[in-house]
Assembly symmetry: C2
Homo-oligomer: 331 residues x 2
C-alpha cells in the first residue's frame, strides 16, 4: 500500500454500518458493512466492527492507519458519546469513542451523521474550497451540518445543527417528537409522502397517485408521478419547496453561507424540488443576501459521502493536534 497514510471512516445507520479505508485524496481503498441492528449491546456491535476491520488494518499496517472517524445519529463530537439515538438499538448514552479506541488502539473521533456529510462535502464534494456553508440532509429525517469559517459548528455542548427540528410552519405534528410544525415534518421523505396523502383527501381532480395504496405512496413514487406530469404530485413538490425555501432563507440570514448544499434521497427529485426552493428562498431574503447564495445538490455518491466525511474527521483531528503542538512550541 505504498506507505501512504489512511483513515477509516465509519457511517453508523439504523440498519447497516458502512466503513471504508480512505486516503487523503478521498479515494476509498476498501469498503464493507456490517448490520447495526443485530447486536443487542453497543459492546457487541463494536466488537463485530473490530473483527470486520482487523484484516484490513493488518494488511495495510496499523502504523499507516491514522485513526477512525465515525458518523452516527446523535453522535457528539465533544463527549465522544452517542446519546439516546432513536434509530439505533442502544437506547442510552454509549461511550462510542472509548469503546472503539479501546479495542482498536487507534485514535477515534465521532460526530453526528449530518456533520460527517458536511465534512465530506468540504473535503471532497460540492463545498471544496468553501469556509461557510450549510448541508441539509433530506432523507427519512432531516439533518444538518453547518460550517462557519472553516469549522463545523458544534455549539457549547456539541449538539448544534438540529435544523430539521426548527419550527417551520404550525399545523402538522411530528410523528416521533410530537412537536408542532418542525421542518422535518414537511420536507423529509416521510413528510413529503404525508403531504401527498393529506392533499389527496381534498383533491378533486384525477391523479396517478390514486392508483396506489396508502403505504405505497413514497416520496420516490410522488417524484415519478410528477415527472409524468401528474398535477397533484407536482403540487406536493411545490409545497415542499415553499416550506424548505422559506426555512433556508432564515438559515441564510443567520450565518450568511456561501452555499446551501442539499443531500440525501429526496434530492433525486432534481428541479422539481430545486426550482420552488430557490424561488421561495430568494423571495424571503433581505436584498443584501439575494442572488448570492449558491443552492447546490451534493456531488458525492450518497453511500460514500458519510464514509468520506467520517474519515475526514481523522485528518481534521490530526491537524488540530499538530496545531496544538505548534502552539506549544512557540510559547
Amino acid at each position: 500500500m505504498n506507505n501512504q497514510p489512511y483513515a477509516i471512516g465509519v457511517d453508523i445507520g439504523g440498519t447497516s454500518t458502512k466503513y471504508g479505508v480512505v486516503n487523503r485524496l478521498g479515494k476509498i481503498a476498501y469498503k464493507g458493512s456490517i448490520p447495526t441492528n443485530q447486536y443487542p449491546t453497543a459492546e457487541e456491535f463494536v466488537e463485530a466492527l473490530h473483527c470486520a476491520l482487523q484484516p484490513i488494518i493488518n494488511e495495510i499496517g496499523i502504523d499507516q492507519i491514522k485513526g477512525i472517524g465515525i458518523g452516527a445519529p446523535n453522535g457528539n463530537y465533544y463527549t465522544g458519546t452517542v446519546d439516546y439515538a432513536p434509530n439505533l438499538p442502544w437506547n442510552k448514552v454509549v461511550p462510542l469513542v472509548d469503546l472503539v479506541s479501546g479495542i482498536s488502539n487507534l485514535p477515534c473521533w465521532l460526530t453526528n451523521d449530518a456533520n460527517a456529510a458536511a465534512m465530506g462535502e468540504m473535503m471532497y464534494g460540492a463545498a471544496r474550497g468553501m469556509k461557510d456553508f450549510i448541508v441539509i440532509t433530506l432523507g427519512t429525517g432531516v439533518g444538518s451540518g453547518i460550517v462557519n469559517n472553516g469549522q463545523l459548528v458544534y455549539g457549547h455542548d456539541g449538539f448544534a445543527g438540529e435544523l430539521g427540528h426548527t419550527i417551520a410552519r404550525r399545523g402538522r405534528k411530528h410523528w416521533s417528537t410530537g412537536y408542532d410544525g418542525s421542518l422535518e415534518t414537511y420536507v423529509s421523505a416521510t413528510g413529503i409522502a404525508l403531504t401527498a396523502k393529506i392533499f389527496l383527501e381534498t383533491w378533486t381532480k384525477p391523479s396517478l397517485l390514486r392508483g396506489y395504496k396508502e403505504e405505497e405512496i413514497t416520496s420516490k413514487l410522488i417524484c415519478e408521478c410528477a415527472l409524468q406530469g401528474d398535477e397533484l404530485a407536482q403540487h406536493v413538490f411545490d409545497y415542499t419547496g415553499e416550506i424548505l425555501g422559506e426555512a433556508l432563507s432564515n438559515f441564510v440570514m443567520f450565518s450568511s453561507p456561501e452555499a446551501v448544499i442539499l443531500f440525501g434521497g429526496v434530492i433525486k427529485a432534481g428541479d422539481l424540488l430545486m426550482k420552488p426552493v430557490k424561488e421561495h428562498m430568494e423571495r424571503n431574503l433581505l436584498p443584501i443576501f439575494q442572488n448570492k447564495v449558491k443552492l447546490l445538490f451534493s456531488e458525492l455518491k450518497e453511500a460514500d459521502a458519510a464514509i468520506l466525511g467520517a474519515s475526514a474527521l481523522v485528518w481534521e483531528g490530526k491537524m488540530s493536534l499538530s496545531n496544538l503542538k505548534q502552539e506549544k512550541l512557540i510559547q
Copy 2:
C-alpha cells in the same frame, strides 16, 4: 496615563455618535459624542470625529492608542464599508475604515452595531468566559451578534446575523422592508407598540392605554401600564414573549449557544418579557436542549456597551495580527 495601552471605541448611531477611550480592562477613560446627522457627507463626518478625538489622542500619546474600533449599522467587518445604512445620512457604500485610518494614522476595524454589542458582552459583560452565545438587541429595531467557538459569526460576506429579519410569524408587514412576518415586526420597541394598537382595536375590557393618543403608545408606556396591572398591556408582553421565545428556540437549535443575551431598551420590561420568552423557548426546544441555555439580560450600561464592544475589536484585531506573526515564525 501610566503607559498602558488604550483602544478607541466608536458607536455610530442615527442621531449621535459616541466614542470612548478604553483600556484593556474595559475602563472608559474618556467619553464624548458628536451628532451623526449634521454632516451631509461621510468625509465631513469623519473629519468632525477626528477633530473631537485629536485632543484626547494627543494627551494620551498616539503610541499608546492601539487602534480605533467602530460599530455602525450595516458596518461590514470584511470590506470595512458601511453599506446603505437606512438610518444614517449617507445612502451609499461608505469606505469608513479607509477614511478613518487615513485621517487618524491608526489601524481601524469596523463591524455592525449588534456585533459590537456581542463583543462587549464577551469581553466585559454577561458572556465573559463564554465561547458560544447569541446577543439579541431589542431596540427600535432588532439586531443580533452571534459568537461561535469564540469568534463572531460573519459568514462568507460579513453580513451574517440578521436575525431580526428572519420570518417569525406571517400576518404582519414590516414598515420598512415590506416583508411579511419578520421577527423585528413583533419584538422591537416599534413592533410592541404596534401590537398594543392592534390589540386595542378588538379589546372590549377597560385598559389604561385607552387614555393615551396613538402616538403616545410606546413600548415604555406599555411596560409601565403592565407593571400597574393593566391586563391588555400584560397581554402585549405575553404575545411578544411567545414570538420571541419561539424564534429563540429555532436559533438555539441552529448553533446551540451556552446563553442568549437580550440587550437594548426593551429589556427594561424585565420579567414581563423574560417569563413568557423563557416559557416558549423551552416549550419548542428538543429535549437535548431543554433547561440548558442561559437566558440573560445584558449587564452592560447600554450607552457604554457599544463603545466597549467597538474598542474590543481593536484588541481582537491585534490578537489576530500577532497570531499571524506567530504562524509565520513557525513556518
